[in-house]
């Protein structure tokens, strides 16, 4: 028998690990991935593969040759960044742009700050916003989705159209009212299943929700951020809709359109870039929700989820200082 170990308590450890958490998120993203393949076909598969591989490769390159240290590409975090970056891009985006996005996401937003755990901003969102600002035209050209297995020929035609939010933005600007516009937009059923224009991973609401529930059950995320994000966006949009239903779309349509669900469930809940305490998480979620709607209705972009989350990411250190967990024994003593 070897020498006995001598160390402090606790002497047992949970079987959770960083690796397990990361791969759980990857599994949670699979339904969304399948739906994106169904609607956008071979383009989506290629784009996702390129994004994931380049994220992993960039991380490996930096760790191996710049930092000359241990490589941690197997921990799954670069795979998540790659998947989320792909899910935030239109399927028609040129491949080299995807690679540029991956370099910015991993190289600039993650490794510059010290790698996993140290990045203040969500890497995939930094990559996406960089691409959106650098290549606005390609980043807002949306191929129309089709059921690939029933209409394989249509996909190759590469017909493009605006996203529902884009249609509304331009429509309102031209003086049309919401009621006319809603007739031309996808129905709620189509929004839930994903038959609409948009980025790869944002179209199929049901798949995103399924992934979110899986993460919730596995305790990888808590309910606070998604509920606060979606809830506050809903309430704020509802108030606007009540004020003037002619120019503000119904709140439920806001929730289902754009990247709101993907953002609320997969991006804002990123452990590294979200607050620590439960109240902090709720404040963070509310900030994301309100900012998203403000950007959507008042900004020049039709969609505001990425910007909203990045702005709130920047506020996380302050939120952590201001919203501490509730301490035990800080109640007033009941009369004895």
């Amino acid at each position: 028998m070897a020498l006995l170990q001598f160390s402090g308590s606790p002497h047992i450890h949970t079987d959770e690990s960083v690796k397990k958490i990361m791969w759980t998120v990857v599994i949670a993203l699979i339904p969304t991935m399948i739906f994106s393949f169904l609607f956008f076909g071979i383009d989506a598969i290629v784009l996702t593969l390129v994004s994931v591989l380049s994220c992993v490769f960039v991380e490996w390159l930096i760790q191996k040759f710049l930092l000359k240290g241990k490589t941690t590409i197997l921990d799954g975090s670069a795979v998540i960044t790659g998947l989320l970056l792909a899910f935030n891009l239109p399927s028609s985006l040129p491949i080299w742009m995807v690679i540029v996005g991956a370099i910015v996401a991993i190289g600039v937003a993650k490794m510059t700050f010290g790698g996993l755990g140290n990045n203040p901003f969500n890497p995939a969102l930094v990559g996406r916003v960089f691409l959106l600002i650098s290549f606005p035209q390609q980043m807002t050209t949306w191929p129309k989705p089709h059921y690939w297995f029933t209409q394989p020929s249509v996909v190759t035609d590469a017909t493009t159209g605006a996203t529902p939010l884009g249609v509304i933005k331009t429509g309102i600007a031209q003086g049309q009212d919401v009621f006319q516009l809603m007739d031309t937009l996808p129905t709620y059923a189509q929004m839930l299943l994903g038959e609409r224009g948009g980025s790869l991973g944002e179209v199929a609401a049901l798949a995103i929700i399924a992934g979110g529930l899986f993460m919730l059950i596995r305790k990888v995320i808590s309910w606070h951020i998604p509920v606060a994000f979606i809830g506050s966006a809903f309430v704020f949009a509802a108030i606007l809709h009540l004020v003037n239903a002619n120019i503000y779309i119904p709140p439920s349509y806001h929730i289902l359109s754009g990247g709101l669900l993907l953002g609320a469930i997969f991006m804002a809940t990123d452990m590294v870039t979200s607050p620590m305490s439960n109240w902090g998480k709720i404040i963070f979620g509310i900030g994301c929700g309100v900012l998203t709607i403000i950007i959507r209705v008042a900004g020049s972009y039709p969609e505001g989820v990425s910007f909203a989350i990045l702005i709130m990411n920047a506020l996380v250190p302050l939120i952590n200082k201001g919203f501490k967990p509730k301490r035990f024994g800080t109640h007033k003593i009941k009369s004895i």
Partner: protein
């Protein structure tokens, strides 16, 4: 079902020995008794080399306000009084006794009769508890009589018996409650009567369903005993968490249970109190679980104090091949044993054998700010901030972040997916911060 609200974890309970009856462990040939086996001022040794002792004879006396007596668990001859290494390897004054037999002092009642009627007055009971060297057997070994010397202006409203046994593996409370039920309930009533309270509250975790049913059944013949079923969650047996679960009161930061009108005692302490008060028997033995994943037959023993732990290990065929660590106490808060040549004290509740699969620490990763440590902290602290402060020796900041509230339950380190040694760091910082505060106060 009742429980505390803030934080907590659910480690596998692994209570392998919960069905194996308590066995009386045979007397050793030579025993070593550390003179001070409690939390507080050291006791004075009152025997010398060559003295003949009987079972139950006083061998070390606690003179200070917070101190405890120690009695001989054997009849025999004092071989020497010397410095002996304890389980951490620190040398302490100890009395070595050559065991010659099992001859008890005359005034100790050795009959098997259960004595229900309480004849002593409250002050006599407290005196008896003090005289017989009873200390808290939940692990801290705080002298029990001191708990009943209630400060001016404070009033006890709840007498709570801690039977949560929330640590994984340990099963002595479980077995004692199954086998010594009536005695410990009388003990609980004695503790209640000291304070002239109408009810004594016993908190048991739900994973011991057989115990709860059995206790409730036996308690029917008593008055003023309330059994609380608690939802299984670690650290339910921590004093402040148990008070919260049963009374909904929160002991304020830096205060004691008595500040919210509560006094908590362990089940084994209640049993020891019964034996001291009703049978005149001092605390000379201890219930100890010998268990572990690789231990073939986990067992519960009644062991006399001063028995070498080696003899318990040998009686079970030596340590298993894959032993990584040996723990005194449970896996969450127990102490690793650095010195195998040590002896059973009042503080032992379990000898836990951790195998190399369970005991190997995982590779440390970067903190990914998952907030799990914040979620599980039962005191509402922020372990992810405290640990780095400790690395930077920033005791002032640690004090401001309430490190002194930490109960060292280990939930943060247990749960950290990045396997960061959070409690290792925080414990060091807490010691240093505490020393800093004491130095400031004595100025």
């Amino acid at each position: 079902m009742k429980t505390f609200k803030l934080g907590g974890v659910h480690p596998d309970d692994n209570k392998f020995a919960h069905q194996s009856s308590i066995e009386v462990f045979p007397l050793p040939q030579q025993a070593v008794l550390f003179a001070t086996q409690h939390l507080g001022a050291p006791s004075t040794v009152v025997v010398e080399k060559g003295d003949k002792v009987k079972v139950g004879q006083l061998i070390a006396r606690g003179d200070a306000f917070i101190s405890a007596n120690l009695h001989s668990p054997y009849s025999g001859t004092v071989n020497k009084v010397d410095l002996v290494a304890d389980l951490s390897g620190i040398k302490k004054t100890a009395i070595v006794i050559d065991v010659e037999g099992d001859e008890w002092e005359q005034d100790i009642d050795l009959t098997a009769d259960i004595k229900r009627e309480i004849t002593l007055s409250p002050s006599q009971i407290v005196e008896k508890i003090k005289e017989k060297g009873i200390v808290g057997l939940g692990g801290a070994c705080f002298p029990t009589h001191v708990k009943f010397l209630i400060p001016q202006g404070k009033k006890a409203e709840y007498m709570i018996i801690n039977a949560a046994e929330c640590e994984p593996y340990i099963t002595i409370d479980h077995r004692v409650m199954m086998e010594r039920t009536e005695e410990l309930l009388i003990g609980a009533c004695i503790l209640r009567d000291i304070l002239s309270l109408p009810t004594v509250h016993i908190g048991v975790e739900h994973n011991k369903a057989d115990v709860i049913n059995h206790l409730k059944e036996v308690a029917k013949s008593f008055k003023g005993i309330k059994i609380h079923t608690l939802r299984t969650k670690y650290p339910q047996g921590a004093e402040k968490q148990l008070i919260k679960a049963i009374t909904k009161r929160e002991v304020p930061s830096g205060k004691l249970p008595i500040d919210v009108g509560c006094i908590v005692n362990n089940v084994n302490t209640a049993l020891a109190v019964y034996e001291a008060v009703q049978k005149n028997k001092p605390l000379i033995s201890n219930y100890v679980t010998y268990t572990g994943k690789s231990v073939k037959q986990p067992k519960n023993y009644l062991v006399r104090l001063g028995t070498p732990i080696q003899s318990i290990i040998e009686a079970n065929g030596g340590l298993p091949e894959d032993t990584e660590k040996l723990i005194s106490g449970g896996p969450m808060m127990g102490k690793a044993i650095a010195n195998l040549d040590t002896y059973i004290t009042k503080g032992f509740s379990c000898i836990l054998v951790i195998n190399n699969k369970e005991g190997k620490r995982a590779e440390i990763n970067h903190c990914i700010r998952c907030a799990k440590c914040v979620d599980v902290c039962p005191m509402g602290l922020e372990p992810y901030l405290l640990a780095p402060l400790s690395e930077k020796s920033n005791w002032e900041k640690m004090e401001k972040m309430h490190v002194m509230d930490c109960i060292e339950c280990g939930s943060c380190q247990y749960t950290c997916p990045a396997a960061r040694p959070l409690l290792d760091r925080i414990r060091l910082g807490k010691n240093k911060t505490g020393a800093m505060i004491r130095a400031r106060n004595t100025k």
